[in-house]
Every structure is written in structure tokens, then in C-alpha cells.
Point group: D2
Chain length 272, copies 4
């Protein structure tokens, strides 16, 4: 552990069982740096692989035949810091992100992610990344996604990427579309903000998109929607649109009303 | 490969590079049985880990310093058959599932998953699992989720689970709530269908839910919503509700209208 | 005019034409008390009847063969004070009403009115009338509607009814359902507020409703909707429901977003 | 009655009471041609004016001091044929109109009417009138509205106008905007259909609109909305938009789901 090995396999026994190993890792101050896999009954029908943040492994009831593997650099496995380990597998809560109030809500974010049809190995551009919620949510899906988060002001973005310890999110501070020129061609593009340069961004992104690539644009304003829909239609992109209207229960004296969110349009394009 | 080893590590060189190894795996008829990890520049700042379905690995531009690891039993890694490998990382398309027309749509499914706040190691009950879309979407998030898909009629469910080759989805054919009695206590419960026994299922699920556990109920009918909301309120569960109304663009002569989906209510409860 | 006759018919000529008569009425300080009907070409194919607030009649191009009829008590004709004359024929603006913030919005009000299927001669109960927006909107449709506006606190209601000078709105200050006992049986009932006594009000209103009568309940809270839907269903009333979700454009810097209103449920029942 | 007098005033007594007069009218086959006003206690505090279709007047409990006035040509009073007399005061049911499937629904129609802020004496253009639902709904609000229903194909329109016996709806068969040139300048314009000439119609209508005039455009397609919003914004019209999303309960086995309607955008402009 002193040498911060990348990968350590440990055969266990009655005293050096998984929880004991986990305690040792923590006692060495490496609890946040490793993920601990417990591989039980390897090769048998009862085989089971589970992984743990060392600080959270207290179970003593593993199958006696087990192997422990310690992996450094948890982000490569989609597991971030001990802090981030408390995050749900899907749907980063807004509270877990530093942001300035404007953030793509979980429901919209996940719907947009589905529309992006991400595959392992894909390059995703997140244009106007803001707090980075979309980049981070995507990056957590697979260490094999290469996510580029582009934003004029990268403050919160940088902080959030650092906090999530994800190695597959690349921060690009700059203005789109110019800042996109140096990036690898995308399989998927999400446009969450355009800083007043919507059509230039759409034109450039559609141009660079790989064949079969997907572009999703989130529209909160009527102008964004109207201009994008008209431009994409007139340029042969055959856009599709989805409108989402959500409302959440909110206490009203001892009863509950439905508090609506701003309706959102997701416009999407698939390059032939 | 003949012996179907579980795990094979291969040091590569200029001729035995990753794509060559992948071809060999496929030529041996084992393309669907292994996932191939390429570990480049291990230990350096340029380290990168990517994984591939052998049949899809054609790249020749990996870093020269690389190691290939072949893992049998892809489902343990969240990668299903070659077929399923074409699935997006998030949002199983309805077309990829055998079903009878009633299926929780992608957008609703992902929103419900976010509300379930799943953590690695969690037990999820998917009650009235139908085609299994929710179970499968959840199970793909992490091999460490234990998903129980409960349904009276398990046909399509069984077929879909088999097709996705996910080892962490357990099919329970039977009627809830009786069929739930033998299951481990859940961290999360999704109720997608109740077969006319809504209140009995809610009562039992809330009872069995672990402290801090989450229950999400999808309501397509006004009766389901009304009864659940009233019952949960009256039993101190402090339910929350979200209404979702989606509409998708659809061609109308040479223009497009918005075709609405049925509005859905997601009712949720968090056990203190 | 000094004697404030109720009805005055005047044969006109080139100098005593309608606009001249209108000016005389106004000069006598009676402009707000009369409605002036111009009956052109009576009995011919070009016959036309139009009515005017005297202060607004400046046209000089009426057919030479015309008759002017002055009617006092404008409210009997659905025309209120000079003030109210500026109101649109349909859709009382919220600004024209004294109210405490809670008011049934125009769009909802008119939809509910349509669902009430009011006929001339009908008795309408407006239960929980609040500012009276529904009562006044209904009463303006026809002097032949008899509208009963019931509310615990009648302040704003009284002021608004007085301002609109409508003779067919009757203010009932009291608590429903008790306050309803003395009223004539309704053809139509609108429940805009229930003061915590929803089910008692529904039960009484359905009981008193004439055969073929209509009841419409506006629900802003989930509890109101759930309880009403369940109760009405269980008591053989075969309720119908409509959900309405509106959003209005609102400036956002130099663009516009859609600002949503609270979703509303209108539950309705038709007595066989 | 044989001579079909336009207006007949009858002093009543114990045997020639209102219901008896009504029966006589009907017995003479004139029940559909007259409206019968009962004027009770004229000049006193108990004065009440009510009107009746003769075939529907059976009450015997009028005040003894009453006067009956028979008015021929009911449409001048906003009362149509005996058939139309069964219509509700507001919200013409779709079933009461001959149409080809495309019809502005009641809820949308009434909301649009409110946004048109119609005043007595106003000229309303109903462009792309279709079945005429909007023209007829408006015309019934007041005999003093002058409604022009413009449509390329006037079939159903003519039939419906004839059925409703409204004298203040003028059918213009022709294509907008050319067909609008001969019409008086409008106080209000409703555009329900544009036959592919949206921007030409908007430009012409905004040009002809009187100062203070209102234009409301109903958009079912994304293209109509996008183009109108962009054009009106760029031409200094400061448009406002409202989106309306309705859903109606529909039986689903023995329960009810919410069946959504197509979302509609109403775009509106007020000329300074």
C-alpha cells in the first residue's frame, strides 16, 4: 500500500477476511484510493463479485472461499471518492454539484442521455456544460466514454470534475464553436447552452458529428427551440423534438399541490 | 480458450496486438463469451482502460505498451451478449425487449430509477415487472445490484432476462405480495403493476423496506394514483408525487405536430 | 329621462339620429344608466339590431330608417356599468376583480363554464365562490341564469358583484353545505373551494342536483382530486376528469421562456 | 301570429298567462320562430325579465303582474332555432357542428376567445375558419359582434352558419390574405389555419389590425409556432405565447387513464 500499487490480489483466510483487509486499507489512510472487490466462490455456480468502498465494508459473512482484489484509481471503475460513493448509481442530485442555479435537472438529464444513445468508446461533447451535470452523469456510465465538457467559464465545472474524480471528463474552457475545433470528432453532442451562438454551434457540431452520431439540444427558451427547429429542418437534418413537462408535489398548508417545472424541449438529430 | 478460462491476461506485441487477439477469439467461436479489456500505458499518466466486444474491436492505434485481459462471463461486467453490446449504455430501447405493448417508456424508467437512488449492493424489487424493462435497466447499472423481477406471468420477462445475460436479475414468477415473502428485504422497490392488489402490495413493501429505503410507484390510472396517495398519506408515509407529460414530434404531411404520451404519475416514499 | 323611464322608444330623423340621442342621454348624466339599441330597417332584409353604451356611440352612418330604444337598468341586458362595459365579452381579466390572490384563472374558468353546459333559466351554485370570478363570468352570459355565489367570507365577493351591477348573482355568506339548504335546486354546481368539507359538499350537491344536472369541481391539490375521484367513483357518479397544464411566455433577458401555471384537475359529474 | 309579426306585446291575466300563450304559439306552429319574454313586476324592486323557447315554457308561477313579449327572428337576440336553443350558453359541443375532424376544441376555443378580448361592436376575422366553430362561438356572445369567417372551402361552414341562424356571421369563401382585402378593418383576428401562407397572412392581418387590436394564432404544428414566433418577434410585434396541454379521463377496463390531447400553442399579439 505504501507503494500505491495499482492492483493487489489477496487470498483470504479466516483472519485476513475481506472486512479485516478493508480495515487495514483504511488504517493506512488509503480508504479513499482503493476499491475493494470481493470475489466469492470463483468458478462455481455460487460465484459472486461485489465491490466496496473500504470504509463501508463491515460484512463478515462472505463465502469462505474468496479472493480480495484492491484496485487503485477508483474512477477507472466508475467509482469516485468515498464522498461520491454515496451518490446513487444514476441521477446525480443537484445538491451534489457546485452550480449557479442553472442546472439540467435529473429527469431531463437522463432523458437526454438516453437520446444520446451512448456506447462504450464514444466521444461526447457537452457544449455549454455549465456545472457539468451532464458530463459527469455520462462519464459515470462507463470509464470508456470520453467526455469533453466545454464552457466559457469553467469554475464550477472544474470543481465538480475534481470532486467526482472522473478521469474521462476533459474540461475545455473556451467559447463554442471555436473551442471545439481541436477536439476529436464526436459520436454524440449535447448542447445545454449556446451563449447566443446557437446556429453556429449547431452547424459546426452537425458538421463534425460522425456518421450515425447523435445531437441533442436542450431548449428552455422559445427562441432557442424555434431557431433550432427551423434551421435543422431547413438544412436537411430531420430533427425530432420532445417536450417534457414535469410537476412535483409541494406542501400547501396540510395538503399538496403540484408545483410545475419549466417545460423543456429536447431537439435531436441523428446523422445518417 | 478451449478450456473457457474465466480470465486471461495477454502481453501484446506488434503482431499480437489487441485487434489480432480479438480476431482470434472470434475465430474460435468465443466472440460472444468474452469481453476484451485493453489496458494501455499502465501506471503512467496516459494510462487508459477500455473494453470491447471482440467482434467490434478493429482499432490498430492502441498505445504500444498495452496488456489485453479477456474476461469470460461478460454479464459480471455489465456487458451482455454481442447483441446487447449494441445497446446504449443507458435507456434500453423498447424495440430491444419482447413485450406485449405495455412497457415503461425510457424517459419514465430512467426518472423512476433516479428516484430509487440505487447504490451498489442494493436489493431492488421490481413488482409487476412485465417485460422487465425496469429490472434490466437497473441491473445494467451495476453488477452489484441484486434485482428481483416479480410478475404473475413471466414469459417475456424470462426471455428478456435471458437475452440480456444479466446475472443479477432474479425472476420470481408469482403474485405479489405473497411472492415477496421469500425475498431479502429491499433497499428499493419499484411497483409498475399491481394486478388489482395495490394497497396490499404497498403495505407489504413499505413494511419490508429497509430504513432509508425508497419506493416508487408508477401510476397510469387515476385510481392507482388516488388510492396510493390517500393510503400512503393516511399511513404516515409522506408520499411525494411527480407528474410527467411528454410529447414527441410526429410528421403531419410535411410539417410536425406533437404527439402526446399518456401522462404518468410517479409516487414515491422514503422510509425514515 | 328625468323620470328615469325604464324603456323609451324614439323614432329618429336626420337631426335626431342615434348619435345625437346618445349625446343627449350623456348630457343628462344618464350615460351609465341606459343601453341604447339602434334598430335599422326593421322588417326588411337589411334589418339590423345593435346596442351601445351611450358614451361610445359616435357613428353617423346608420340606415336612415331606424328606431332607437333606450333601456334603463343595463344589467338586465348583460351590460354592466360604463366601467364594466370596457370588459371583454368573455374572460373577465383578473385585474378587474378584487381578490386575495386565489382566483380561478380565465382559461380554467371558461373551460369549467363549458363543462357546466349552462342553459338560460338554469340555477347555478358557485360553492366557495372566493372573488366571485366564476359567478360573474357565468352571470354575464345571460340575464336568465340565476347564480348563487356561496362563500364563508363574502367581502371581495360583495364588492365585485356590486361593481359588475349584475342582478342575477345572489350572494350567500355562509358555510357549505349548510348554507346551501335554502337555495333552489341547481342545474349546475361549481365547487371552487370546500373549506375542508369536500365530501360533505359533494354529497349534498349531488343529492340536490336536478336530473341531467352537472357538477364541476376544480382541484388544485392532490388530496382534493384523490378524495373526490374516489368518493364519486364509489358512489356511482361516474366522474370524468380533465387535467389542464398551461404555460405562458415570459421574458428571460432578451429571450422568452415558458412559465408554467399550476396544473389543475377539473372533475365533473352529470346526474342521469 | 298568422302575419308573423316581428314583435307582439301581450298583457296577461289569470287565464292568458305566459304558459298559455306559449302553448298557443306552439299550437300555431310558430314555436321555433318566436322567443317569449316574460316581464314580471315591471318597475318594481321585484322586476324580472326572463326569456323562453315557447316549447319549453311550462311554469305557472310567474308573478301575476306580468307582460309577455313575443319576438320573431330569435337570432337577433342570440337565441337560435329550437334546435340551437338546446346548446349551452358557452362552449358549442363538437357534435353540434358539421366538420371534417379538424375542429378547434371547446377549451382552446374559449381560451382563444378570451385572448381576443372582444367588445360589442368589434369586427372579428376568423381566418381559416374550417367548420366555423370559432366564428359561431364568438357570434353567440353578442349580436353586436361582426364576424367574418374566411375559408377556402366553405361547405361545412355555410351549413353550420345556417343551422345556427346567426345573422352576424359573414361567410367569405376565398383564400387569405387576398380574400381579406375587401373586409372592414378588424379589432380582432383569429388565425386557425393558414393553408401554407402563414407569414403572408400574419403580415397582412397585423397591417390591417386597428390600433389596440388583438391577433391570436392557434398552432398545432411546430413549424407554425416556430415561424410565427420568429417572424412576429423580428417584426416588432412582441408576441406572447401560451401552451395548453389537456388530458381527459378515459375508461381502461374498470379504471381510468388520462388520454392526452395534442398540445396547442396560442400565439398572440396586441397592436399598440
Amino acid at each position: 500500500l505504501q507503494r500505491r500499487e495499482r492492483k493487489i490480489a489477496i487470498f483470504t483466510d479466516a483472519s485476513n477476511h475481506p472486512a479485516a483487509i478493508a480495515r487495514t486499507v483504511c488504517a493506512n489512510g488509503a480508504g479513499a484510493d482503493y476499491v475493494l472487490w470481493v470475489c466469492e466462490n470463483l468458478g462455481s455456480a455460487e460465484e459472486r463479485l461485489t465491490y466496496w468502498a473500504p470504509g463501508e465494508l463491515h460484512r463478515e459473512d462472505f463465502a469462505p472461499l474468496n479472493l480480495v482484489v484492491l484496485l487503485r484509481d477508483p474512477s477507472a471503475c466508475g467509482v469516485a471518492s468515498a464522498n461520491a460513493a454515496a451518490l446513487p448509481l444514476l441521477g446525480i442530485p443537484e445538491a451534489a454539484l457546485a452550480h449557479r442555479g442553472l442546472i439540467t435537472k435529473r429527469e431531463i438529464r437522463l432523458t437526454a442521455l438516453a437520446y444520446l444513445e451512448l456506447q462504450p468508446g464514444n466521444v461526447l461533447w457537452d457544449v455549454g456544460a455549465g456545472s457539468g451535470s451532464m458530463s459527469l452523469e455520462a462519464a459515470r456510465l462507463s470509464p470508456m466514454l470520453n467526455v469533453y465538457a466545454i464552457d466559457k467559464a469553467g469554475e464550477h465545472l472544474q470543481e465538480n470534475i475534481a470532486n467526482f474524480r472522473l478521469r474521462n471528463v476533459h474540461l475545455i474552457v473556451g467559447e463554442a464553436p471555436e473551442a471545439l475545433a481541436a477536439l476529436p470528432a464526436p459520436d454524440a453532442v449535447f448542447v445545454g447552452g449556446s451563449g447566443g451562438r446557437l446556429l453556429a454551434i449547431l452547424a459546426y457540431a452537425v458538421h463534425r458529428l460522425k456518421p450515425g452520431g447523435r445531437l441533442v439540444l436542450s431548449c428552455i427558451t422559445l427562441e432557442t427551440f424555434s431557431q433550432a427547429w427551423t434551421w435543422l429542418s431547413e438544412h436537411g437534418c430531420q430533427p425530432e423534438a420532445t417536450s417534457l413537462q414535469l410537476a412535483h408535489s409541494r406542501p400547501l398548508s396540510h395538503l399538496h399541490c403540484l408545483e410545475p417545472e419549466h417545460p423543456i424541449f429536447l431537439v435531436r438529430v441523428k446523422k445518417p
